[in-house]
Symmetry: C2
Subunit: 507 residues, 2 copies
Amino acid sequence: MAEAPGAVRPTVGLLGGGVIGGGWAARYLLNGVDVILLDPAPGAVPRLEQVLSAARRALSRLTLAPLPPEGILTITDSVKTAVEGATIVHESAPERLELKQELLARASRAAAPDTLICSSTSGLLPSRLQAGMEHPERFTVAHPFNPVYLLPLVELSGGERTDPATLERAGAWLTGVGMHPLTVRAEIDGFLSDRLLEAQWREALWLVHDGVATVGEVDDALRYAPGLRMALMGPFLTYRIAGGEQGMRHFMAQFGPALQWPWSKLTDVPDLTPEFLDLLAAQSDEQAQGRSIPELERMRDDCLVALLQGLRGAGQGAGATLVEWERELMRAAAARHAPGAGTGGADEHDEARPLELVARQIPAEWIDYNGHVHESRYLQLAADADDALLARLGVDAEYLRDGGSYYTVETHLCHLGQLHAGDAVTVATHVLGGDEKRLHVFHRVMPAGAAEPAATAEQMLVHVDTTAGRAAPARGAVRDRALALIAAHAGLPIPDRAGRRIERSRS
Amino acid sequence: MAEAPGAVRPTVGLLGGGVIGGGWAARYLLNGVDVILLDPAPGAVPRLEQVLSAARRALSRLTLAPLPPEGILTITDSVKTAVEGATIVHESAPERLELKQELLARASRAAAPDTLICSSTSGLLPSRLQAGMEHPERFTVAHPFNPVYLLPLVELSGGERTDPATLERAGAWLTGVGMHPLTVRAEIDGFLSDRLLEAQWREALWLVHDGVATVGEVDDALRYAPGLRMALMGPFLTYRIAGGEQGMRHFMAQFGPALQWPWSKLTDVPDLTPEFLDLLAAQSDEQAQGRSIPELERMRDDCLVALLQGLRGAGQGAGATLVEWERELMRAAAARHAPGAGTGGADEHDEARPLELVARQIPAEWIDYNGHVHESRYLQLAADADDALLARLGVDAEYLRDGGSYYTVETHLCHLGQLHAGDAVTVATHVLGGDEKRLHVFHRVMPAGAAEPAATAEQMLVHVDTTAGRAAPARGAVRDRALALIAAHAGLPIPDRAGRRIERSRS
């Protein structure tokens, strides 16, 4: 959430701190937005801490983009405190119409008239929810998905009295915190996703009820094939591809008749007898293999992170949302770090010290068959530090577009210790020398709390005119800042390992 | 598919070369299995070539494990030729009962009595399919998913006359080519996956029919959140997590009543009027944004590869299947490359030349913001060559388990050219020197057809006793082979860039 200098910090009011409310809190706080959360329950704080800790871990693995300083969390037992002064309010109370109506009505009286007020309901109609509200025109359903801090989808659905501009405002705001708003065209129970899921869920219950499959087998029937496709495309694109070049009409001609086959019992539901519930519970226990909910959640989050990263690489679906969010984070960080931005924070430190431009936790997917971080990842950390250094010098999207860039031409890596998944590391960057064309840098990969680096990387970067395809001096402010930094680091002691070569060892 | 020395090569008979039959062909051929395919249609060969080319691209990006030499594809117009001598037969004809019955019956008469005979039907009952067969006990449905060469799920469903041992044999065989067999406990139309998908599909059609959403919006309602989860877990585990530590019983108590809400029209189907079909076709065209089916398939495959790699990192679901398959590929490759295995192939070349142990195509996800391969990937290529070198020396899972390994302690990289997505490269590895504890290697990353390397990587590897945590001599045959290779390479000319250091450049 980039903000103009001097702007009032936006605040979010959250009504309810359960799975969904806690997820909203985590998404907002990690996007640098302050949150005031209504939750009078005694266990609220430790539960929120747990969600926040899971979200911090997940986002640190999800993106290398610089997250802003975390927002401030305030917990209150007053609706008024939660909503007054809020830019947006999310109600995430249990799915009971009267309870939600009452809470939304109270919030609407306490909030400023232009505060956006949203409900996280997964199926109740917006016209009914907004019935008792003041200024109902600023109300919309904004239905997110668990875990809210990772999954980008949020369904927007306005009621009869909702101003269309409300949907636009809510959509723009939610896009700013990395979400993908999807506006539902008509008021309908369950909106889109939950109707599609509910259809499948009923069929799943029948399959277990009739002994055709266990709960684990039903899940496997999805996750080993159709579910993989569904992470990137829904049924319509899937079937378009199956239908070949002749498009959807051809597919429907081929498979439309199959819709009349008696393949489901979908509007019926099995009676939830004690016996059937026993069966479900026992099979579910077996499927969980003794894993606790936090363990399962961590597995889920790790997989979601990996899936989102995969889709980001392909630029598709939720991966494209992630790319947009990262761009926004980069823009916001550039605004914070810009020369003269005067944040007074950690970035303002003395330039005559090695720079600490990278801090991150080692993700599990960096581990090789020896249980150590794969050697190429040490170079990735060095390259990340180079990227951060270049950003600091002012090498931005515009500079790149104008044909200026630095390329690494040579690297010398020394492996001195081992890193493991979850280790926190920083990279300390010392500019050993250079000129208007070159930057000679020395990175130390420092495990948190360690006196000695786990690895060092000495590198030579050359400034390139990418249009001409040859080395060329850096330009304008980038050149000036590079020369200033070279000068500022000139007095630092030369590291032991600088200038090393691999000694010949012919036996 | 590891095979005993001197064993007859297994052959697969495929009846039908459409989307599914072609996918089977690709999966088998790339797993080193010979295929005889029945497809009298004139366009069969170019269509199969296209599938094979897509599959080669996908698998080269999916895994670094060594794929075996491709199997041999024979196309025939005779059922007898396709099935006689086959270990297993897959019928993938159009979904018409009589057509399939007739084809399966003919195949059963021509095949050896113990040949496994499978149908790829997505919904017809196995008891009906096997009705006219000889030796119906060796019949099972083996229902795969498109693209068959990437998605691991295969549903197995036997009929009344199927021998349970047939399901076991088919399951073990399919596991060997990287699939995840799932046996359905009862005969039921549509098996598991298609019933679950059909339920969702009917609801999706209603949503579009009623103007609640476009086809693109329905797809988005899945792929931006629920579909991501579904790549790793089905509804039961998802809802278990939502229900918290109290398990499925608690979830059902909370959400069971919602099953009675009138949220779907699922057993009804919208009339497929010309107007509705027009609407579907137009929206589907819009969603495709002019992309052809091959373009969409490539996007899909790239995403699936990325998703599978993500799940592999997390060791979950289809990722676990991938890990198992890679282990099998490694075992098979080790058997092929073992000293004395005498394959007579490319690996038998003169040891007194640099070794070419890595050959691959650059995947798109290796590209950085400059449009070049990220610098850390050059080191990954070098590390891959090290891994292949160590495998050649006999460093295998057992050697690692016994506490022996080589660690890289130092690397010097020179970047000399640029690689782009899709470029084919090999890595030429020259052992510059070493002794029983050390290997001093020099890798050249060679773009296909180029005279000069795109990068060089000089590395020092040290043999380690991982139990004691210190450098130690290599053991047994690994030591002997290492010393022999060092001696064999001793006469090779020293590369120009060996022993380089980064020159100080303080300005």
